[in-house]
Symmetry: C2
Subunit: 402 residues, 2 copies
Amino acid sequence: MNTIHTKEAIRNYLETCTTQLYDNILPFWLQNAPDTKHGGFFHQFDRNGSLNSQEKGIWVQGRFTWLLSWLSNSAGSEKERSHYLGLAETGARFILDHAIAPNGRCYYLLGRSGEPLRQRRYLFSEVFTALGLHAYGSAAGDKESVEQAKRLIEVINHYLAHPELLESKYLPGVVSLRSHSMTMIMINLFQQMRSQSSNAEVKIGLTKRIEKQIDEFLRYFFHPSEEVVLEFSDPEGEIVDTPAGREINPGHSLETAWFLMEEYRYTKNHFYLERAMQIVDWAFARGWDTRYGGFFSFLDLYDHDSPHIEAAMKYWWPHTEALYASLLAYALSGKENYADYFLQVADYLFGSFPDPEYPEWFGYLSRDGVPASGAKGNLWKGPFHIPRSLKLCLDLRPLLGL
Amino acid sequence: MNTIHTKEAIRNYLETCTTQLYDNILPFWLQNAPDTKHGGFFHQFDRNGSLNSQEKGIWVQGRFTWLLSWLSNSAGSEKERSHYLGLAETGARFILDHAIAPNGRCYYLLGRSGEPLRQRRYLFSEVFTALGLHAYGSAAGDKESVEQAKRLIEVINHYLAHPELLESKYLPGVVSLRSHSMTMIMINLFQQMRSQSSNAEVKIGLTKRIEKQIDEFLRYFFHPSEEVVLEFSDPEGEIVDTPAGREINPGHSLETAWFLMEEYRYTKNHFYLERAMQIVDWAFARGWDTRYGGFFSFLDLYDHDSPHIEAAMKYWWPHTEALYASLLAYALSGKENYADYFLQVADYLFGSFPDPEYPEWFGYLSRDGVPASGAKGNLWKGPFHIPRSLKLCLDLRPLLGL
């Protein structure tokens, strides 16, 4: 495709981003999610938008609080800004009132009115809660939220330094593997906090913490000789020849890739951009299903059959991450192959995931594209990946000259 | 279909059962599973039969030990019998040496040479280990295996009576739901033990324990007003309006149905047969995918979208359970509709699951029948459901006059 046609095709898909974001995704969640009685957000919705469960997952409470606060910063009017911030406040309030356990960690699942139901061994609830509280506290000038976010980050750091304090999935003495997802998500959390801070010293400190996370990512999970990002490594960064050790998650690779590109934009360190472009290349080379289109959810480094029975499914979120990662790589590098990647994933994404009959998108397709679940929201799918990606793509228009 | 044609069609499928069992399934596992160096069984195999992981799940160790011991009882020759029993012995030995934790419970996952890797909060590892050890000990006259099986059953009973001693998925104070799968599997375990015992008093005791489990099943999970078996209930047997409380698992329903029919065969209590036939009717009415064929994995009582993203997948095991449940219902009742069910599920099963290129069967298809995973064995799929069902169907030939 020549450059003029490429730009035109991108422009068309950016119009689709606008329509999907403002006429489909955001209205669905702004209307259905807020619980006006108990605060916080419903998020377990059937295909037709009816409520499947009143239970409230903490990931979604933190993520939607973050999204609303983030949107408030670029709101077109004071009215819109206070609408977003008002909803974010109910999320932050619900988290502050109900999500923090006596031991300083977060719960994973609450009942409708905030009664704690589950806590899990992983630290993702703490990460998404901190993400939401820091964004809301910064946007609204709410010190309590910012302070609680900082306490949560200390809790996360404490457990990352002492993983033996968390109940392990494996028995004591079994060597535990390092996990890419935790490294990845901490980069994003620190980047978000930095963008919300106006204190130069704080920004420098966060930039150092990000640099440390990226160093860890490159040492443990980035494998140029195999041209792959792996999800787990042994404590020294060696590849472990087990199903977990061989696991490839193209969506996570692409997510880390765009976090690295954002770091390039902030630091102007070209090294980050180069690594990110490599990762995007690898993810499209290995992760794309050349038969039916779309990204596989999981692959095995040596082509064994993945132990995940959903490995061949097409999840929505790797595609939203790929959409932004490829467009950002194109915007930053000017290289046409990233525009081609963007158009490839946009064709599949907008052709497969939006529900033609009801609002919002399908989250899970079978390998050949048949919807495997109608659910519009569950404990993992909520108002996060789709609106974040669409908005980020739209924000690239000035850089793209579109 | 008239009766003569029906019988002929069943006869043809029983020939397929023979071929699949003796020329495909059993050779695959007899050849690939035994670990001649460390004992026990490998079971994590790729589509082409290559080993995906050397780790050994305890469920499979117990289940294959049971299958081999069971097959030894009907072996056609002393040579065949000792071949089966010799392999069963390596399973039993591996379990006795490595699977029992110091607290009397079982591990869930071991390394190749038996080093413990994981223990889980559920009691299924104990059930399948007891199943295998009791079958092997009875068939081979090995007292140590029988005694260990009995100790495991005491452990299971202890924890079932004191569920608060097991780490809960939910936080303390959250009302935990009763689970159909545990009730179901205890019926099977006690039935197997009874069939292996020659002591009349022991048989009477086990029959009473089975009766108690069936009473619990009927009180908590069997819902005539809704024409459904549910997977969970509140402590009083009321339906809980949450995703878990509304969960329908057609495969589990059909498995319990044939356990009830086996109890009818033993006790001549017609009540069990009638209930079982109802359950088979309900499972085919609700669970069958009229669009693409096959049984859904999970459904929601009120037609909400299941929270399981694999709900629309077609698993192999509900179909093997349906195969035997429908044929047994036909053999015991003589009612043609169960023969029709058998042919319906046999058409789908033999047309969709056997791998046309490599040995053994696919375990997981997308809703429209595309293989979702090539794995021939994992922590759940092993030498159990398929050979058990095929052999049980073949064992019905005298009763069917075929």
